[in-house]
Amino acid sequence: MFNCRRKSNGLCLSIFIVAAICSLSVSVKAQSETIDSTVVTDTNLVVAAPPTSVIASEYKYDDAEALELSWVPSIDDQLVDGLVLAYRVYRATNGGELEMIEELTPGNNNFTDHDLSGDSSYSYVVAAVTVSGEYSSNATAAISPEREWLNYEKKWLFLIALFITSAIMYFIRTARKKKLFVRKIAGLEAIDDAVGRATEMGRSILFIPGIQDMDDVQTLAGLTILGRIAGTIAEYDTKLFMPVSRSLVMTAARETIKASFQTAGRPDKYHDDIVTYVTDEQFGYVAHVDGIMVREKPATVFLLGAFFAESLILAETGNSIGAIQIAGTARPAQLPFFIAACDFTLIGEELFAASAYLSDEPRALGSLKGQDVGKALAMFVILIGVLATTIASAWHVEAMQTVVDTLSSVFSTK
């Protein structure tokens, strides 16, 4: 055992000095290893504990392109305000060099890293930044993002959609066996009357299926009604003309009219010029239709489909030439003009109901009934939900709160 007291003072001092120098050099070295590029000569050195428990985990329900990172913030961030200036997130791809990918404000404890590839592995380091430098955590274990095939957060959306779809399929099957009840829609009988009126007056009928393409269900509903009208028109031998703004609609409308004329036993009356393409440009189309409305003066105008700003211009021009106008659209913003300027208007879903009713097609009727099931469900949920939440919040009834929470979790898409 070394005892300074038994040796000379000089030797003791020498050993002390050597030991001190050694220990100092070791501590300096150790510090420079821990705090890379930190200014250590500054007497105002601001040291912070690094973030701990840094965990990189799989980001749920993505296409193998994201990972989630969480950590416990530096204890100094939690205790002292303003000491930690930021957190820097570093990422190493496939065991390579660390590169900074994000700087976050103090208080943050998670980060989602996007734009990754499922073929690579990633490891992360989070550093707390002070005025003096960075204090890094340990690196996380390497992890690769994985693709999930199903998003379980959307399970209620799926189940409710499945329920309504099943109802639609059930009613389509039923409609094939027996006639389904659909309430009378006001204005439907006016369609035949309007065709008859044009025939009596010896004038033409103008049909406008909106300005949208075949991917819009309103255009489809408009063409279904056209199919029904075209049959009557062929029987009465009335002139029909139909300018359209989409080439696909022109194709579909020609086929619809051709089929109707054939069914009515008047295929000779069909010719392609009944349906003409004008232009895709909204107001160019309107300028043309307005012009021919004034020149041809049709006795009846049908405006059935998806309409936008042109609705008022077309309905107003039709009104000014004294035509009977039957309109229908599911665009809420355009309905006011049709209601004001047309003789009959199919409001919103009535357009689809009318197309189902007139076509008498099991698929259309079944869809309509199936959708009614969905509406009944929505009505029930709104009624119960509003009553329950009002009672729960006013009188703090726990059972009601449970009902509200359940409904909210089912219908939540956030």
């Binding site: 996007h114 700003a309 898409t413």
Partner: protein, 334 residues
């Protein structure tokens, strides 16, 4: 008067009008034409009196023609251009929340702006677009432009060109490709938004002028909506705000605001209440409010007086029309 004579008279009046206008322009006497305050008030008073006369005539059973209504609307919109009157603009909550959403973005944030309109809707949406770019460029926000309508990106370029003339923005010496980029039009409506949710580049392999996506520094590292800090949709119909909300907001969580034509603004209001949109600029009124908040005076503010005058005329004719309707109805019953 025969129809032929009437038509010739109209042509003669139009010709004289054109000649006077051309002379005025060449001579310069009508540049910056402005009524004094007194004259402005006199004109307003004359219009009110003439409307009262029309109301009186209607009550007497003398109906006016539709062309008179057209004329009044035309006058009510035109005269305020030259009047020395101003109108106070009040900020509505949905415009305030929209502005607050943009104002909290730090410099360098990436903003995606979708231009889904064409020249016919420009009077309402172009002032919004201009103040939007003005704000973004002045506050160092990076802007990516796309369009789901063919003429949308062109409208964006026109707005950018205009705001670049501002001294404060010209001084910043903004670079195309670094500070802003126009990726052009893509057909496919909401399917484009859906694909952008996984990969922007697949929908826009090149920008407006054909430069490959990877050669544009601003978007080189933008893969999908997760790299976008804020979305702004200028919309005049379909595809537009409804589709952006349904796909970009609800599926991909994009924070979004919208500038709509007044026609479709009511359709988008439910999205504010449910938090799917942070705010809406509705029509020219919305544009004027946004201009006020961003501290600029553009066409939105300038034309609010015309808008208000026209509204008053429309209300007056709704009253006159209803008087005529009920008077006619009573007659029929008798």
């Amino acid at each position: 008067m025969s129809t032929r004579l009437k038509e010739m008279l109209v042509v003669a009046v139009m010709t004289v009008f054109f000649v006077i206008m051309y002379w005025g322009k060449v001579d310069g006497w009508m540049t910056g034409f402005q009524f004094s305050f007194g004259l402005s008030m006199t004109v307003v008073a004359l219009i009110v009196v003439s409307l009262l006369v029309i109301l009186y005539l209607t009550l007497q059973g003398k109906m006016i023609g539709r062309r008179v209504v057209f004329l009044y609307v035309g006058i009510s919109v035109t005269l305020p251009f030259f009047m020395s009157l101003s109108q106070q603009i009040k900020i509505s909550p949905e415009v305030q929340t929209l502005y607050d959403g943009i104002a909290e973005l730090p410099p360098g944030s990436v903003v995606l702006s979708a231009f889904d309109y064409d020249p016919p809707s420009a009077p309402e949406l172009q002032p919004m677009a201009e103040s939007f770019f003005r704000y973004c460029f002045n506050n160092d926000l990076k802007v990516i432009v796309i369009g789901l309508w063919p003429q949308g990106p062109q409208q964006a370029n026109m707005a950018i060109e205009k705001v670049m003339l501002d001294e404060s923005i010209a001084a910043k010496n903004l670079q195309y490709g670094i500070d802003y980029v126009n990726l052009g039009f893509q057909t496919g409506n909401e399917f484009v938004i859906q694909r952008m949710g996984s990969d922007f580049k697949s929908m826009f392999p090149t920008d407006y002028s054909g430069t490959p996506y990877d050669e544009l520094p601003l978007v080189k590292n933008v893969k999908n909506f997760s790299n976008i800090d804020y979305g702004f949709n200028f919309s005049a119909g379909y595809p537009g705000t409804v589709e952006w909300v349904q796909v970009a907001v609800d599926r991909y969580g994009l924070k979004m605001g919208a500038g709509n034509t007044a026609v479709q603004a009511p359709q988008c209001y439910p999205y504010i209440r449910s938090g799917q949109l942070i705010g809406i600029l509705g029509g020219m009124n919305g544009a004027a409010e946004f201009e006020l908040l961003t501290g600029t005076v553009g066409k939105g503010t300038k034309f609010m007086l015309s808008q208000s005058f026209a509204h008053m005329i429309v209300i007056a004719f709704i009253i006159i029309g209803n008087v005529a309707y009920f008077r006619g109805g009573r007659k029929r019953k008798l």
